[in-house]
């Protein structure tokens, strides 16, 4: 299985390491041609304005939308979640606009308010998930098709909509591979189709 990690900016190296530990062929994607033959896409943490802009300028928006339409899994973390959302509070800009959610950017405050916390994510089993939130967004509203996977202090911080997965926090930084494995399980189903 080949997963393209959007590598225009941000923590793409960590996602690639996590995916390789799970035996996946993970590749860096900086332009549209890097997405060819990929079975799924990861949108890493970083700055959403920079990532969105560079994806637009290098024609990666439509190819990723097509892959999503084909049922291929897409996973966005932090900035990646903002790039996936179809509504961003207080902004006109939408990047991929694939997920039926409204995100609130930097909703937990500035960097001094960034934090670590143990999260309860029922689909991953009983053990708490170590989550790190860095100038993190949260999801303010979700559409009917969206399944809420986790909340932190009443704010939605992890969601799934069919083949689309998004988290406010950074599973690529904490070494717990369960979310990446969960993402790959979505991939396996779509590849099997």
């Amino acid at each position: 299985m080949k997963i393209a990690v959007i590598a225009v900016q941000g923590a793409f190296r960590e996602h690639i390491q996590a995916l390789r530990q799970l035996g996946v062929d993970a590749v860096e994607a900086r332009r549209a041609s890097d997405l060819e033959n990929a079975d799924g896409v990861v949108l890493p943490g970083g700055e959403s304005t920079a990532i969105g802009k560079l994806m637009r300028e290098y024609d990666m928006i439509d190819p990723v939308r097509e892959m999503a339409a084909q049922g291929k899994p897409i996973f966005g973390t932090c900035a990646g979640m903002i790039v996936l959302a179809n509504r961003i509070e207080g902004e006109q800009t939408v990047h991929l606009g694939l997920m039926d959610v409204t995100v609130n950017r930097n909703s937990f405050g500035r960097q001094r308010d960034s934090f670590e916390a143990d999260l309860d994510i029922p689909v991953l089993g009983e053990a708490a998930f170590p989550a790190v939130f860095i100038r993190a967004p949260h999801i303010a509203a979700v559409g009917d098709q969206v399944e809420v996977l986790a909340r932190y202090q009443d704010r939605i911080v992890a969601v799934r909509q069919g083949n689309l997965l998004a988290t406010s926090f950074h599973p690529e930084l904490t070494g717990d591979l369960r979310l990446h494995q969960y993402f790959l399980n979505i991939s396996n189903k779509s590849v099997a189709k």
Partner: protein, 294 residues
């Protein structure tokens, strides 16, 4: 239940900046230009380094009004500089909610012996370094991000290249050492032993390592990425060029696509004049900023 200001949170913030460009700005208008060009953060200053050079005298933390103006203008992170060893300037910046503090040799040092104890702060710090020992000393004091010092405000890349090459060469050398050689090496380069061991085991600095101090063109930014930098700071290089919007956009793209040479050629076309440069050899010893700090 939740923990703020941990190493993971502070270093993680720098991880998110990788592959990006951090731009010096002196007002809201410049900050918006930087954000629109795809900068991952801005550094709010009263003067860019080349103007600090020209002005002479003592350079201090910027007026908080300027920093607040920039924080209101953009949604990307805002960094600001305090003087080396100036604990109170650092505390003021933290209290204002600045996202990252640069304890910077661009400003006139406040202490000729001690840097700020950065482990005591919730806000993360970036510090300059010329070599591995200096980088590990700063990380030992709690820096969550390192950048080369280069020679700020010169538009001349040679010092940043020298510092990054030195750091990478020392990392490779340490990686090849036997464990019993690390004790003497820690003493020789003045680095905390536990951090040196980490470099030996992982082959990289424990934190993100950016380039700074002399980046003036898209090719300069790409060169620093080629030499192993995780990202680039651009000080005077953007807003002292003839066309800041074009330079900002081209430097952002050159940093992402640093090995795509045909694209770099396109990005370098018709940019207009880069900032005026200074030959390092013409600087007097006291004019060199890279030698500030220990």
């Amino acid at each position: 239940m939740s923990k703020v200001g941990t190493d993971l949170v502070k270093r993680g913030m720098a991880e998110m900046q990788k592959g990006g460009v951090i731009m010096d700005v002196v007002n809201a208008e410049q900050a918006k230009i930087a954000e629109a060009a795809g900068a991952v953060a801005v550094m709010a200053l009263e003067r860019v380094p080349s103007d600090i050079r020209k002005a002479g005298g003592v350079a201090r933390m910027a007026d908080p009004t300027i920093i607040e103006e920039v924080m209101k203008a953009v949604s990307i992170p805002v960094m600001a500089k305090c003087r080396i060893g100036h604990i109170v300037e650092a505390r003021i910046l933290e209290a204002m909610g600045v996202d990252y503090i640069d304890e910077s040799e661009v400003l006139t040092p406040a202490d000729d012996k001690f840097h700020v104890d950065k482990t005591k702060f919730t806000v993360p710090f970036v510090c300059g370094a010329k070599d591995l020992g200096e980088a590990l000393r700063r990380i030992g004091e709690g820096a969550s991000m390192i950048r080369t010092k280069g020679e700020p405000g010169t538009g001349n890349i040679i010092e940043a290249v020298t510092h990054q090459r030195m750091m990478q060469a020392q990392i490779r050398r340490v990686q090849g050492m036997s464990e019993d050689e690390l004790y003497a090496e820690a003493k020789n380069i003045g680095a905390p032993l536990h951090l040196l061991k980490e470099v030996h085991d992982t082959g990289r600095l424990p934190v993100v390592n950016f380039a700074a101090g002399g980046v003036a063109t898209p090719a300069d930014a790409a060169l620093m990425m080629e030499l192993g930098s995780d990202g680039v700071f651009v000080g005077s290089g953007i807003f002292k060029s003839e066309n800041p919007e074009k330079f900002a956009r081209a430097i952002v793209q050159a940093t992402t696509h640093y090995q795509d040479y045909e694209l770099l050629a396109e990005l370098s076309k018709n940019l207009g004049g880069a900032m005026e440069g200074i030959d390092i050899a013409t600087l007097r010893a006291e004019e060199r900023m890279a030698t500030r700090g220990w």
